[in-house]
Symmetry: C2
Subunit: 380 residues, 2 copies
DNA sequence: CGACGCTAGTTATACGTAAAACCGGGATAG
DNA sequence: CTATCCCGGTTTTACGTATAACTAGCGTCG
């Protein structure tokens, strides 16, 4: 029974089910579906049917149970490489994130993994290598190992490889008019920045500095634009300075120092693109002898754990990272199942904490009511 | 020429190289090595030899170039699932980390990825799911998709699955007398904690509190033991309180509050198992009106970016995360190549910053010279 | 009573690659 | 002059799985 099709020798002889351990380190050879079939006295096809769960009406219950028992006995695990080859798909998605340290993406992963698990999909993570990483080839031939990709727009350097892979691509927080993505999940970043700005405007601030991430990504372009729009809507308000900074505390500190000591009226509020930068900005203010928030307000973005680690705690915009990851994975699973992809926008929420306060006009004379008073009003 | 072995119909006919697009979303079918062979006028085996780089002395240069040209033309990428099945290995390693947010593991990944790239090995990341995650099955059948695993001892809940996978396992920062790991990479945690303690002892501190991570992991057990050993070596010194805390700023804050306000002599130094806890401890001290480091010293562990985000900046122990990841990957690659595995210990380094200072005995009377004076000396 | 359908399987095949085994012909050594 | 070796390939096979196609036996219905 089913003893043909094998070269011979290695097969029917007793005296050792695992004739040769081919592995380099003495690892036991895994049982295959054929081994299970032999042990259960059925054909390999039957094993495949039973293990695949498609045996209803095809295999009798006693036989199925015998197969399951044999599988258990031999500790059978289907060989994924073979299955992937046979099926031409893997039910595995790749999540591409810009940097592991970014807490936001940890949340994205969590949300994506949850939804993936609900649909029997696996997730592997690929942190975009810093600079021109050599580890790019996951994409080069990834097609056989992956069914789809979810990528953050911040992982810019990996995107060209992604495109070439020919895999369905869900973009997170990306330019909506990309044509190569099958779906896009966007955070309502513009609304978040608008809320921050209006919050500060309501506190009486009119003179702002923007501590901006120096990353060329859609999400940061949107922040800058939304800030400009919100400020423009209020007469007498202005962004008096924009200082770019790398995404570190030290860079945020230096940028804020520049913003606070440069020529022209000193801004009363520092709007930062990220909590990391905001933490640096707070340090800079204190280093200059300015109290936060009494003399200068600072706002962050993202609501990382850092936001409550510093003192005072940061006023910031909470991004529901898990919702983003979940929506991304839902979109990808839909595409994988042949359904039309949907583009989602996830709302964000202003979190008011200790670094933003009312601006007391009397505290310090400055040119924040007259728009043209920028020159000649140096406070430095 | 090599036109047999195919069912028929789909094969030799002209009029469309991609007869049916089987993919659900209109994706172009990938060219296979057979397609390349046909285009180059050679056999599939020749294509495999050329693409595999093993053609020296087997294929003439003109033929090889023709194959390469055809491959380029058709945008050929080898099907990884087929290759994995054929070779029985994948040259892919899995890195299991406890949590994505932990910056330390981002460094571990970076180091591991660098070494992996040097050896043509890919790395995928698996963050151990929080709690009883459902996404565990990557290990269940991972054998066909992975060649080896590098796991942090903190990813405790995933370890049982890992063991079952039968894959070579390199443990990071784990109990050295594990028998199921082929290699272990340890940080000299004990030395780090010894350095911290001796630093504080040299500053005059004698009464310590240990803000301890509430995770049952080798690394934290070692920290507690090394702290106890170092303190015991100095007459008159004692750990007057040990407060466990989850790994969050808020939990660190509460634990430090308990440590500073409990009965008995108030400790003059808070030794924290992690920078996160140390940040919370600093907040607690300030909240109680105690200046850091003048009235209470605080030390962290790990040297995360958080350490320089807070003020004052944290005295802490720098863990060379990249070196750990690199050593782990080196050990795994060695095992994969059949070489004996080596166990490594990576040194750590004390970083003295702003949260540790000399203890001025006069600043505050307390029972830190007499060991038995714990009772009746409440400072509350 | 024969065709039919259902049950419970089996046999055969394909997925795409790597590599072992084979092979024709020219150069070369004995 | 012939046996051998090397060059430059080709043919063939196997990896382990999923599934389409087939089949033997049996009850059933027209």
């Amino acid at each position: 029974m089913a003893e043909d099709k094998r070269g011979g020798g290695d097969d029917g002889d007793a005296g050792g089910r695992w004739p040769t351990v081919r592995g380099r380190h003495a690892a036991a050879a895994r049982a295959t579906s054929r081994d299970v079939a032999r042990a259960a006295g059925v054909s390999q096809a039957t094993v495949s049917l039973v293990m695949g769960g498609k045996w209803r009406g095809r295999v009798s219950e006693p036989t199925a149970e015998a197969v399951r028992a044999a599988a258990r006995e031999l500790d059978y695990r289907p060989n994924l490489a073979a299955r992937n080859l046979r099926l031409g798909r893997t039910r595995t998605a790749l999540l591409v994130v810009p940097a592991l340290t970014n807490e936001f993406f940890a949340g994205v992963y969590t949300g994506a993994a949850r939804v993936a698990a609900e649909h029997g999909v696996g997730v592997v993570l690929y942190p975009s290598p810093e600079g021109t990483g050599p580890a790019r080839d996951p994409f080069a031939s990834a097609r056989a190992t992956l069914d789809g990709v979810i990528a953050s727009s911040m992982a810019a350097d990996a995107l060209s490889d992604l495109r070439e892979g020919g895999l369905p691509l869900v973009m997170l927080d990306s330019d909506p008019d990309r044509t190569d993505a099958v779906a896009t999940v966007n955070l309502d970043i513009a609304d978040g920045m608008r809320q921050v700005t209006e919050h500060l405007l309501a506190l009486g601030h009119r003179s702002f500095a923007h501590i901006a991430a120096d990353i060329d990504s859609w999400t940061f372009r949107v922040r800058a634009r939304a800030l400009a729009d919100a400020v423009r809507a209020t007469a007498g308000a202005a962004v008096v300075r924009t200082e770019p900074a790398a995404m570190t505390v030290a860079a945020g500190l230096r940028a804020a120092e520049r913003a606070l000591t440069g020529p022209g009226p000193r801004p009363t509020a520092l709007i930062c693109d990220d909590d990391i930068l905001a933490a640096g900005a707070c340090k800079a203010a204190r280093r200059l002898g300015l109290r936060v928030p009494e003399e200068v307000s600072v706002t962050g973005f993202d609501d990382l754990s850092l936001a409550t680690a510093v003192e005072p705690e940061l006023t910031t915009v909470r991004l529901p990272a898990e919702a983003v990851g979940a929506a991304g994975m839902r979109a990808l699973v839909a595409v994988l199942d042949g359904q039309p992809a949907t583009t989602t926008t996830v709302p964000v929420e202003l979190v008011t904490r200790g670094t933003s306060g009312p601006h007391d006009d009397a505290a310090r004379p400055g040119g924040q009511t007259r728009r043209g008073a920028r020159r000649e009003a140096s406070v430095g």
